[in-house]
């Protein structure tokens, strides 16, 4: 099956559809006419050289800034005019390249406030976190291997541990889809395999669709079932890992021979 056919066949059950998205900063076009489709339950990758517009695309998808043109549909709903918390509440979460946690709160507290936003109605504001939340938080901390750091402040964790904590926070929120911005950057190479194993389990066991920006080629080739490649703000190539790996345009873009 060719790449186009794969994408076409899965479009029926797309969770995220990006059509003709354009975003410029001043005179610089960070994204130009980006089209991509992510099927529900998939693990898709997004690669490209530095400055190719990957993070800009993530920011556009999650409503961090308005897009100049195009359409972004999540679970069948147009989200390009919604703001960040509204999109998050639909079940589309992102993690940050620089890793963001609530640094002066404990790991447990970080998770307790990351419950699904739908459970954060007015009335719940003034209640203590129920035992069920604490149980769920303990289970997720265990899953990412941070149980021993339960009561440590997030800011005291190593960078790699903070990445895991950020992932745990996302899991606590039970999203339908997770955009991961370089999940293995800065993580100890021996821990990368563990992290990848967990990402696969998140996808398989919890049914969370993953869309992953990654610079580490062996990692993304092993993790993703389908990859989009950006260069100079445009979609350069797409296909299964083995097709992308041998695509001369992708090799050119990475080696700068373009």
């Amino acid at each position: 099956m060719g790449a186009r056919q794969v994408a076409g066949a899965l479009r029926v059950n797309a969770i995220l559809e990006v059509r003709g998205v354009r975003k410029s900063f001043g005179g610089v076009a960070a994204n130009r006419d980006i089209d991509l489709t992510i099927p529900r339950g998939g693990i898709y990758g997004l690669i490209g050289p530095n400055g190719s517009g990957k993070t800009t695309l993530f920011n556009s998808i999650v409503g961090h800034h308005p897009i100049d043109a195009g359409s972004i549909r999540f679970a069948g709903r147009e989200i390009s005019s919604l703001r960040v918390p509204q999109i998050a509440r639909l079940g589309l979460l992102r993690t940050f390249q620089q890793t963001r946690t609530y640094v002066r709160m404990t790991c447990l507290q970080n998770l307790l406030i990351s419950i699904p936003p739908a459970e954060l109605g007015w009335k719940s504001w003034f209640r203590e976190s129920p035992a069920a939340d604490r149980l769920k938080a303990a289970e997720i901390l265990d899953f990412v291997g941070l149980s021993p750091a339960r009561d440590a402040r997030a800011g005291e964790l190593s960078f790699g541990q903070q990445k895991l904590l950020e992932l745990a926070m996302a899991l606590m929120s039970e999203p339908a889809m997770l955009l991961l911005d370089e999940p293995t950057a800065g993580v100890n190479p021996t821990l990368i395999n563990e992290l990848l194993e967990r990402l696969r389990r998140i996808n398989a066991e919890r049914g969370i669709t993953l869309f992953v920006i990654e610079h580490n080629m062996p990692v993304i080739m092993g993790l993703a079932e389908y990859i989009y490649c950006l260069a100079h703000g445009e979609l350069l190539a797409q296909g299964r890992p083995e097709e992308i790996q041998t695509d001369p345009r992708v090799l050119d873009a990475y080696l700068g021979a373009r």
């Binding site: 999650v62 918390p85 979460l93 963001r100 406030i113 936003p117 954060l120 003034f126 209640r127 976190s129």
Partner: protein, 315 residues
Amino acid sequence: MSRIACGAAWGGASLAAAVAPLLLPTWQTQLAFLWVMIVFALTWDVLGGQAGYNSFGNVVFFGVGMYACAVVQRDSGLGYFQGLFAGTACGAALAVVAAAILGAGLLGLRGHYFAIGTLGVGIAAGELAAGWDFIGAGGGMVPPPFPGGLGGRERFFCYLCLSIAALTVALLRWLYAGRFGLALNAIRDDEDKAEAMGLYTTRYKITAWCVAAFLLGLTGGVFGNLAGFIDPREVAFAGSTFGVWMVLMAILGGKGTLLGPIIGAVIFHVTKELFWTYLLGWQRVALGLLVVLIVVFFPTGILGWARARWPERFA
């Protein structure tokens, strides 16, 4: 500290506060001021410490409560105590409305911009009050006299202020224990992350400001009667004294905690009164020096310093 020791400390402090006016009758007015200072520090900390939004305009809610109460007392025709009760209730309600409106406008701003905005609001409020004849303009207002003897007045206000301070501690303790407290801390640590996780941060911030405004409005209504005279710039919207002290006391004790602002208020108030008694003429210089010392030596407050020094006691 263990749970029992902690409870005993709170209980002991409450008991001491309750019997102090009986044992030290000449200090009753001083104590009343102290309770007000504690409310100042604690309410400033709701947004300033817990959510990391430094406000220099909280004194506005204090002034709004004070004027609203005095107007109700003047125009309602009620007896003294009924008027005071209705007045503080109206004052608190109006302060909450003011916080909701100001919050909707200002709490979209972040960091320094919010601080500067609130500073402007605080100054503007004093000037507006000083130019509005309905509330006495620059001449201020005089709340109705307390019925009964002088000693009864002092004891009454001492206990009234103590109950507001107790209400403040209880209310905030309850709020901080819940998800609301967690959300405010999350906003303090990384507001962009909180939004990315689906929290409507502005709603939390406005609610936090409304809680502070409610308590400050109550306190303002009572304080006008305690002081016996309402000056627009020196008493009601006293940004350069009360407005700044709120911030200092919370920082001195340790912002972002429940105990810190209380400790800060006690130390600050006692020190300030000592300066006024023994260093008259130089009291403002001494207070200024104290502020510098606080910021240099206790940047995280007394509680933060103690926590760094004896971490095992705060586990």
